[in-house]
C-alpha cells in the first residue's frame, strides 16, 4: 500500500519533472470569456463560452448560475446537448422574466479561473430559428407575372398561442447579381414581388425576429425561374409608333431647314472665289509671311527676253455674277510671240462667263504675251514663290511715282470705294518684303495704266522668276518698255479696292507685268465709265500710246485721280501734261487723316507700321472675298470730276 502510494507520488513527480525538463510550463487556466446565451423559442436557452488557455494541463469547465433574489447557486444541468463549451437549460430550468446570474469556471491542476458574471433575462435573448417551408410560386394571371412568396414560422416558436410574436423579412436577388433586395414583411406570411425580369432565375430567402430579440439566420435559398413573357399591350405599340413618327418628323424638319438655309446662304452671300495667282501661296498668306508671298510674285528677270514669251501666260480674270464661286480663269496658253493683239471687243470667246457683261470686272484679254495673271485659287495656296524682285526697281518706281517720301510708313492707299475686282487684292495688303516698296504709294494712273507695264497683279508663272513686286498695282507701274509689249489695247479697269484703299489695276493684257513696277511713267486714268453701281471704269491714257483700239469713248475729260476723299469721292486731276509722271498719291497727311481701323491694316503690313488708309468696311467679309479673289461690287461712290 505504501509502496503504491509512493509509486504514484514518484510517478507524478516524475511526470512533472519530465514535463519541466521538456521545457513546458504549467499555469492555471485562463479565464473563460464571451459567454453568449440564446433562446430559440423563449422556453429554453443555451449558453456558450470561450475557454481561455488551458495552462498546459487538462482543464475542466463548469457553469454556475444564480437566480434573481436568491443566493442558491446551481450548476448547469446539461453540458452535452448543445455541444462543447456549452450549457443547455431545458424548460424546467428556464424561468422567464427572471434574471440569471451566470458564471463559468475553468479548473485545472494548478488552479481555477472565474469568468465575469453575466446577467440575462430570457425574454431579451430570443433568437428564433429561420422560417420554414419557404415556397415561391409564379402567378401568371395577367400579362405581367409576379412572384408569391409564402413561409411558415419556425416550428419551435409558438406564435399560435401568442407567446411569441414574430416579424419577417425577405430578400431576393437575380441569379447573377450580388446585391440582395430586402423587403420587410411585418407579421404576414405571404408576400408578392412584382416587376420581374422575364426569363431569369431568382433567389429568395426569409428570416424572422421576435418583437424584442435578435434576427434569425436567413432561411435556405429558394430558386424560382420566371418564364419568358412579353406583354402585348396595344397601347404600348401605339406609343412606340407615335414616338417614331415624331422623331422622323423632327429629323425631316431639321434636314429641310438645313437644306433651305444652305441654299439661302448661297443666294444671299455668294461665296467669293479665291485668288488664282500662280505662284501665290495662300497658306503663306495666312501665316503672315508676306515677304515670301510677294516674293513669289516678283518676276526675277524682268524684262523677260523674247525667248521667254512662252513663259508668260496671262490668265483672264473674270468676275461672275454671284453664283460663281470662283473666278473663271483661263489660261491662255497660246502665246503669241510677238504679236500683241489688241482686242477690239471686250468680249472674248475665251472669257468666261460674265466677262462681257459683268460690271465689276472686265478684263481685256490681250493677245501676245500673256502672263499668268492669276491663278485659280481654289482652296489651296499657291506654293510657287517668285523670288523677290530687285528691290531697287521698285524703289525707283516709287520715288518716281510719288513725291512723297518713300518711307515705309507711307503706305497710303488710295481710298476708293469698294468693289475692286482683283484677284490680288491681298497683294496690296501684303507686306512688302522691302519696306520701301511697301512705302510706295499706290499711285494710280501712272504705272497702273501703262499698257506697257504689267499690272502688278500679274503673277508670274512658276517657271519664270521674274521680279515682280508684290504690289504691282501700286502706282509703281513699270513703264519701262520691255520687250513684252504692253498691250493695253483694251481698257484697263482700275480696280480700286475698297478696303485696302489702294488701287490696282487688273490687267489681263500680257505685257508682263513683271516689270510693271519698274516702269516708271505716269499714266493718266481716264474715266471710262461710271457704272451705276459703284464702279469707276478708268482706262489709262498714255501720251503717245495707242490705246485707241479698245477705247470706246473718250469724250470725257481725261483726268487723273488726285485724291480720294473719305468714302466720298475720287478726286481726279486734270491731265496736266503728258509724259509727266504723276501719280495719284495720297499724301501722308491726307492718308493719315483717313486712317481707319488698324486691325485690318495691321494685317496688311505686318512688318512695317504704316498708317494704312483704308476705307471703312466690314473687314471679315472683305477678307473672305479677297481671299478668294472675288470682290463684290459694293457701293461705289460717285466720282467727282474736276
Amino acid at each position: 500500500m505504501m509502496r503504491n502510494v509512493g509509486g504514484v507520488i514518484v510517478l507524478s513527480l516524475l511526470l512533472v519533472f519530465v514535463q519541466l525538463a521538456a521545457g513546458e510550463s504549467f499555469s492555471p487556466p485562463g479565464t473563460p470569456k464571451n459567454i453568449i446565451c440564446r433562446s430559440p423559442e423563449k422556453e429554453t436557452f443555451t449558453c456558450w463560452w470561450e475557454p481561455g488557455s488551458d495552462g498546459g494541463l487538462p482543464t475542466t469547465y463548469a457553469l454556475y448560475y444564480r437566480k434573481e433574489n436568491s443566493d442558491t447557486v446551481y450548476e448547469c444541468p446539461d453540458y452535452k446537448t448543445a455541444g462543447k463549451n456549452s450549457c443547455f437549460f431545458n424548460k424546467n430550468d428556464t424561468s422567464i422574466w427572471v434574471t440569471y446570474n451566470i458564471t463559468v469556471v475553468a479548473t485545472n491542476a494548478l488552479g481555477r479561473a472565474f469568468s465575469d458574471p453575466v446577467e440575462i433575462d430570457v425574454v431579451y435573448i430570443v433568437m428564433p430559428n429561420p422560417p420554414e417551408e419557404v415556397t415561391v410560386t409564379v402567378i401568371e394571371d395577367t400579362n405581367w407575372p409576379f412572384l408569391r412568396v409564402s413561409w411558415e414560422p419556425p416550428e419551435k416558436a409558438d406564435t399560435r398561442s401568442g407567446w411569441i410574436t414574430l416579424i419577417y423579412e425577405l430578400r431576393i436577388k437575380l441569379e447573377n447579381e450580388d446585391e440582395w433586395e430586402v423587403h420587410p414583411a411585418g407579421q404576414q406570411k405571404v408576400f408578392n414581388i412584382f416587376s420581374l425580369r422575364p426569363d431569369s432565375t431568382y433567389h429568395v430567402q426569409v428570416r424572422c425576429k421576435p418583437d424584442h430579440g435578435f434576427w434569425s439566420e436567413w432561411s435556405g435559398t429558394t430558386f424560382v425561374k420566371v418564364p419568358d413573357y412579353f406583354p402585348r399591350e396595344r397601347s404600348m405599340w401605339i406609343l412606340i409608333a407615335v414616338f417614331a413618327a415624331f422623331i422622323i418628323l423632327t429629323f425631316t424638319f431639321i434636314w429641310l431647314s438645313y437644306m433651305k438655309i444652305h441654299n439661302l446662304k448661297h443666294y444671299v452671300l455668294p461665296p467669293v472665289p479665291g485668288p488664282k495667282i500662280k505662284g501665290f501661296d495662300k497658306k503663306a498668306l495666312k501665316n503672315g509671311k508676306f515677304e515670301d508671298i510677294f516674293s513669289s510674285l516678283v518676276v526675277s528677270d524682268f524684262p523677260p527676253t523674247t525667248s521667254n514669251y512662252e513663259d508668260f501666260i496671262v490668265e483672264n480674270l473674270e468676275v461672275f455674277v454671284p453664283e460663281e464661286q470662283e473666278l473663271i480663269m483661263e489660261d491662255s496658253k497660246d502665246l503669241q510671240d510677238d504679236s500683241i493683239k489688241s482686242e477690239n471687243s471686250t468680249c472674248d470667246n475665251d472669257s468666261g462667263r460674265g466677262s462681257c457683261d459683268s460690271h465689276t470686272l472686265l478684263i481685256d484679254k490681250g493677245g501676245g504675251d500673256k502672263e499668268e495673271a492669276l491663278q485659280s485659287d481654289q482652296e489651296g495656296s499657291q506654293d510657287e514663290r517668285v523670288p523677290t524682285s530687285p528691290e531697287e526697281v521698285m524703289e525707283e518706281d516709287l520715288l518716281a511715282c510719288c513725291d512723297e517720301k518713300n518711307s515705309p510708313d507711307i503706305s497710303e492707299k488710295v481710298k476708293f470705294t469698294p468693289s475692286l475686282i482683283s484677284p490680288l487684292p491681298r497683294y496690296n495688303l501684303m507686306n512688302q518684303p522691302n519696306p520701301p516698296e511697301i512705302g510706295k504709294k499706290h499711285c494710280l494712273s501712272d504705272s497702273l495704266l501703262n499698257p506697257d507695264s504689267l499690272p502688278s497683279y500679274f503673277t508670274q508663272p512658276p517657271s519664270t522668276k521674274n521680279d515682280f513686286r508684290s504690289n504691282p498695282w501700286e502706282c509703281n507701274f513699270n513703264h519701262k518698255q520691255h520687250p513684252l509689249h504692253p498691250q493695253t489695247t483694251g481698257k484697263e479697269h482700275l480696280q480700286v479696292q475698297n478696303e485696302i484703299s489702294w488701287v490696282h489695276v487688273d490687267r489681263t493684257e500680257a505685257s508682263l507685268g513683271v516689270q510693271a513696277p519698274s516702269v516708271r511713267s505716269t499714266e493718266y486714268v481716264e474715266v471710262q465709265r461710271v457704272s451705276g453701281g459703284n464702279m469707276v471704269l478708268l482706262h489709262p491714257v498714255s501720251a503717245g500710246q495707242e490705246n485707241s483700239g479698245t477705247m470706246s469713248h473718250q469724250t470725257e475729260h481725261y483726268s487723273r485721280v488726285k485724291t480720294v476723299n473719305n468714302d466720298s469721292g475720287l478726286l481726279l486731276l486734270q491731265k496736266e501734261s503728258t509724259g509727266e509722271e504723276m501719280g495719284i498719291c495720297l499724301s501722308e497727311e491726307e492718308v493719315e487723316s483717313r486712317a481707319t481701323s488698324n486691325g485690318y491694316t495691321a494685317s496688311i503690313t505686318p512688318t512695317s507700321e504704316k498708317p494704312m488708309v483704308g476705307i471703312n468696311s466690314t473687314l471679315p467679309i472683305l477678307d473672305d472675298r479677297m481671299a478668294s479673289g472675288y470682290v463684290d461690287t459694293a457701293t461705289m461712290f460717285g466720282l467727282p470730276t474736276y
Binding site: 423563449k42 422556453e43 434573481e68 433574489n69 424548460k91 428556464t94 424561468s95 422567464i96 422574466w97 427572471v98 434574471t99 433575462d121 425574454v123 409558438d158 406564435t159 399560435r160 398561442s161 401568442g162 407567446w163 410574436t165 407579421q187 418583437d211 424584442h212
Partner: protein, 227 residues
C-alpha cells in the same frame, strides 16, 4: 334690467347644460365608434383586444427607451441592489405553460393588478423627474406619457373584461378579487424605497408581462385574428 333677466337665466343655464351634456355623451360615444365601419355600433372583442395590445406595446416601448437612457446616463453600479420589485408580491406566471394553464379570469386579474400597482409609482416618478430635472425634455415627456398610459390601459383592459363578462366568456368574479389585491400592492410603501433605476427596470419587465399576457389572452379567446 335684472328683473327681466332673472327668469331667463335659469332657463338659459339649463339649455346650455343640456346641450353640453348631450354633446359630451355624443362625443364619448363617438370616440368609441370611430373605427367602426358604418355608424356607431357594437365593437368587436377582437378589435378591443387589438387596441389594448397595441397600447401595451407602445407602453412597453416607452419604458424600454427610458430604461436604456437611464442606463446610459446614470450608470448604475455593478453591485446591484436586489431588484425587489414591489410587484413581486403579485403572483405572475413566468413561463408559457404556466400562462396557458392559468384561467382566463385569473390572467385578466393579474393584468389588472399589475396595471393598478404601477399607477402611483409612475406618477411619482414623473413628478420626481420633472422637479429635479433629471431628464431632458424628451425623457420627461416620456415619463409623463408612461404614467398616463398605465392609467388608460387599465381602463381599456377593464372594458375588455367587462365585454368578456358580458359575452359570458369569463365569470363575474373578477371585480372584487382584483381590486383588493391591487390595493394592497399599491399601498405598500415598498415602491417608495426603490431608486429610479430599479423602478424603471421593474416597470420594463412588468409592461412586457402585461403585453404578453394580453396576447395570450387574446389568442385563447379570439384566436382567429392574427394568432
Amino acid at each position: 334690467q335684472p328683473g327681466r333677466l332673472a327668469p331667463i337665466s335659469p332657463l338659459f343655464v339649463a339649455l346650455v347644460c343640456l346641450a353640453f351634456c348631450s354633446r359630451l355623451s355624443r362625443m364619448k360615444a363617438a370616440s368609441i365608434c370611430t373605427n367602426s365601419q358604418t355608424g356607431c355600433h357594437f365593437l368587436s372583442l377582437a378589435n378591443l383586444f387589438d387596441r389594448v395590445i397595441h397600447h401595451s406595446a407602445r407602453m412597453h416601448g416607452i419604458s424600454n427607451d427610458l430604461h436604456s437612457e437611464f442606463e446610459l446616463y446614470f450608470l448604475p453600479s455593478k453591485n446591484r441592489v436586489s431588484r425587489n420589485c414591489h410587484t413581486s408580491t403579485i403572483l405572475t406566471p413566468n413561463g408559457k405553460e404556466n400562462a396557458q394553464r392559468i384561467a382566463r379570469e385569473e390572467l385578466t386579474e393579474v393584468i389588472l393588478k399589475l396595471l393598478l400597482a404601477w399607477r402611483d409609482p409612475l406618477w411619482h416618478f414623473h413628478q420626481n423627474m420633472a422637479r429635479h430635472h433629471k431628464f431632458n425634455n424628451l425623457s420627461s415627456n416620456k415619463s409623463l406619457e408612461m404614467s398616463e398610459m398605465v392609467h388608460e390601459l387599465r381602463k381599456g383592459v377593464q372594458k375588455v373584461a367587462e365585454k368578456m363578462q358580458m359575452l359570458g366568456i369569463i365569470s363575474n368574479s373578477l371585480g372584487t378579487l382584483g381590486s383588493r389585491e391591487a390595493l394592497l400592492a399599491s399601498d405598500s410603501p415598498e415602491w417608495r424605497l426603490m431608486n429610479d433605476y430599479n423602478l424603471l427596470y421593474c416597470f420594463r419587465r412588468d409592461s412586457n408581462k402585461i403585453q404578453n399576457y394580453l396576447k395570450i389572452l387574446k389568442c385563447r379567446i379570439v384566436p382567429e385574428h392574427g394568432c
